[in-house]
Amino acid sequence: MADAVSPQTAPADAAHGSQGHGAGGGDAHGHGHNPFLAHHFETMSQQFDSGKLGMWLFLGTEILLFGGLFCAYAIWRGNHPEIFHAGHQHLNKTLGAINTVVLLLSSFTMAWAVRCAQTSNRNGLILGLTLTLLGGFGFMGIKYFEYSEKIAHGYRPGKYYAPKHDAAHAATPAAAAGHAAAPAADAHAPAPAAAASDGHASGAQTAAAGSEHAATPPPAATPPAVAGGADAPKILPAAVAPGGLAAQPAGAGHGGEDTPNVHLYFSIYFCLTGLHGIHVLAGMTVIAWLLMRSVRGDFSSAYFDPVDLGGLYWHLVDLIWIYLFPLLYLID
C-alpha cells in the first residue's frame, strides 16, 4: 500500500466524469491534485495498482472463459480426431498466417504506444494506437473474407452445415430439404427410412438434428443406393453415397467430405473464432476510446493507466489467437 504519499484532496466529481472503470492514476509524484484521481483512492499509485490488479484478474477470467472452450476442444478432438482432420482442410492456412502476423504486429505497436504514453510522447502514442487500430481492422477484414467463404461454401455450424459439393448436387437434385440429409445412411438396416429413424450417429441426420424430430425420416429418403454405416465399413456400397456424408472410416480423403459430423468442427471453429472476434472488436473499441483521449491529451507520464490496461487486454486477445491458429488451422 502506498501510504507514504500524502493524502490528496482531489475533487471527486472531476475524477468521476472522465474515466472508465479500472482506469486509474499514473506515477505517484505526490502532487495530490491530479484530476484523474478518483475520490475513493488516496494516491495515484494506489489507484494505478488497483486498476492493474483488477485488469489482471479480469484477464484471468477471460482465460478461463476460453479455457472452457479449449477444454471442450481437447475432449471433442480426442473423441473424434477424424472430424478435426477433415474439417481443418477447408481452412485457408495462408490467410490464418497473415492474420497471425497482423495481430503480432499490432501487439508490437500497442506496446510501443504504452511506452510513448509513459514518456509523455503524445504523437508517438497517437501513431501507435492508430496503427494498432488498423491492425485490428486488418484482422477483422481478413476474418470477414474467411467467414464469407466458409458460409458461401456451406461450411456452417450445426444444422446449417451444408457443404456445396458438386457431385452431391448432381446426384440428389431432389434433396431440397437439406443437401446433407437426403440419403439415409446407416449400417443397421438396409431400409433407408428405418435406418434414419433409429437415431444412430450418421451424417444423414445432420440436417434433422436441430429439429425436434430427429427421428422423422428425412424427405427423399428412398434412393436406390444404400450406404454403409460407421459400424460396418466392410459393407461400403459400390457407389459412394450421394450427398457425400455417408459414414466412412476416418481420413477417407476428399477433403473430409466423407467423414460424419464434420459440422462439429465448424461449430467449434465458429465458436472459438467468433468469441475471439468479439474480443477483438471489444479491444478495438477500447483502443478507439484511448485514441480519442490521447488526441484530447489526457495521457502523460503522470497518468497513463488506461493505455496500460487497454494494452494488457489487447495482448491477451493476441495471445489467444496464437493458440487458436495452430489448434484450428495446423492440425495436420
Binding site: H21, Q46, S50, N79, S267
Partner: protein, 563 residues
Amino acid sequence: MASISVPGAIAGQPARSKANYLNASSGFLSWAFTLDHKRIGVMYLVGIFTAFLLGGLFALLVRTELLTPGPTITTHDWYNRFFTLHGAIMVFIVIIPGIPAALGNFALPIMIGAKDVAFPRLNLASFYMWVIGTLFAISTLAFGAVDTGWTFYTPYSTKYAFNGMIPVVAGAFILGFSSIFTGLNFIVTIHKLRAPGMGWFGLPLFLWSLYATALVQILATPVLGITLLLLLVERTLGVGFFNPELGGDPVLFQHFFWFYSHPAVYIMILPAMGVMSELISVFSHKHIFGYKFIAFSSVAIALLGFLVWGHHMFVSGQSNLVGMIFSAITFTIAVPSAIKVFNWLATMYKGSISLNSPMLYALSFMWIFGIGGLTGLFLGTMATDVHLHDTYFVVAHFHYVMAGTIFVLFGGIHYWWPKMTGKMFNEPLARLSCLLLFVGFNVTFFTQFMMGSHGMPRRYYNYPAQFQMYHQISSAGSYIMGLGVILMVGYLLHSLARGRKAPDNPWGGATFEWRTSSPPPVENFHEQPVVDDLYDYEKLFWDEQAGGYVRREVPDGAARPAH
C-alpha cells in the same frame, strides 16, 4: 501505524451533520446512477428480497401441488416449470448474489475503512447486469417457461425442452458476469483499499470469507459462462456439442456444469460462514476463537471446492476410480467446515450470549448446517449415493445447506438493518419470525430426509400413497415458513416508517461499521477509525442514554487480555 487525515470530511461542517448516504441526495436518478456502494447494496437487497419472495411463491406452489398424488392444483407440465423456476431463481438470482452483493457491498468498504469499492462504476454495472439477467430469466414465463430443472442437463435442454430455455440460460449467463465483476471488485478492494495499518489478519472474518468467495466467483463462473454459451449455440444452431448423435458428449456438459455449480455452493455458503463469524462473536461479546483457523479454512474450502464436482456424477458413467477420488476429496471438505463450527462453539463457550434476533438466526444456522453438512457425507459416499441419488434425501440435504445460508442472510439483514436504515425493528416479532422459520424449515425438510431414504424420487409429480403423509407434513412446514417470511416483511417495512431511531452501535460490534453513524455518511466515516483488534469487546460499554454500545478507552494500565 499512525492514523491518517480523512480527505472525505468536508471542511466547515460539523463532524456529525444530519446528512447520511440515504438523504444526501434524493430522487430516482440519484439512486439509479449512484456509485455509492451502500446504495448499490441496498438496491441489491431490495431486488434480491423481491426475487426471494417470487422464488418462495413457486416453492409454495410446488409444495401445494404435492399435497396429493396426481393433479392437485396444476398440471404436470406447470409443476415442472414451478420447481425449475423455484430452483433457478433461488440459486442464480437470490442465494449466489445474496450475501456478497447485498450485504457485502454495503459492509465491505466500511469494514476496511475505505470510502468505496475499488471500481464503483463496475459495481453499478454489476447491479444492472443482475437486473437484466433477472429480467431475462423471469421472462421465460412469457415463453412457456423452462422445465429442465435448474441444472439444464443436455440433451433434454438442447433438443426437447420448451423455448423458454433460451431466456433463462441467457439470463444465467448475464448473472454470471455480474457475479464475476462483483468478485473482482471485492478482491481488488480488499487488496488495495484497506485502512493504513490493517493487515490481512486484522480483517474482519466476514471479509476473509468474501475474499475466498470472490476467488471462487472469478475462477469458476467463466466456465459456467462458456458452458451456457455452448448450450445456447447448440440449442439455436443445432450443433451437437453435447449430443452423442452428432459427435458430442452429454457427460461433458455435466462436467462443465458442476465444475461451476459445485464451487457455486461455496459461493453461497462461504459468505454465510463469514457473517456467522461476526454474529457469533458480537452476540457472545467475546473475542472470536481461532481467528486464523477460521480465516484459512475459508480459503481451504474455496480451493477444495474446485476438486469435488465429480461427486454429482457418481451415476453418470464416471469410472469408479475417479468416483473414489472425488469422494475422498469431498470428505476432506468436512474438515475446514467443521473447523469453523467448532471455533464458533468455542467462541460462544463462556461468552455472554445475547439472544437477539440476528443471533437466533446464527444459532439456527449452526443446527441446520450441522445436519446439512453431515448428511452430505451420505451423498459423498459412493455406495450410499447410488441408493440416495435423485431422491428427496438430496433435496433435503441441499436445502439444509443452501437454504441454511438464507437463515444467515436474514441474520445479516437483521444485524446490519439498523446501520443500513437507521431504524430499529420490532425485536419480539423478529424473534417470533425466526422461530417460525426455524420450525417450519425443519418440518419441511427433515421429513424429506425420511421420504428420500424410503425412495421417493425428487422432481416427481405423482407418488404412491405411502408418501402422502410425508408430503403433507412437508407442505405444512413450508406454509409455516411462508408465515414467518410474511411477518418479517411486515415488521421490517413497519420499522422503516415507525421504527425507533437506531443507535450507532446497537449490538456491541467492534468492527468499523459500528464506529460510524447509523446510517453512515456518504463517505462512510466522520473521522477515520483507528485500526485495532476488531474482535476486542473490552472497550464497549452499554450506554442507556444512547440506547446502544459506546466505546470508552480503557486506561493503558488496566487489565486487558492479550490476544
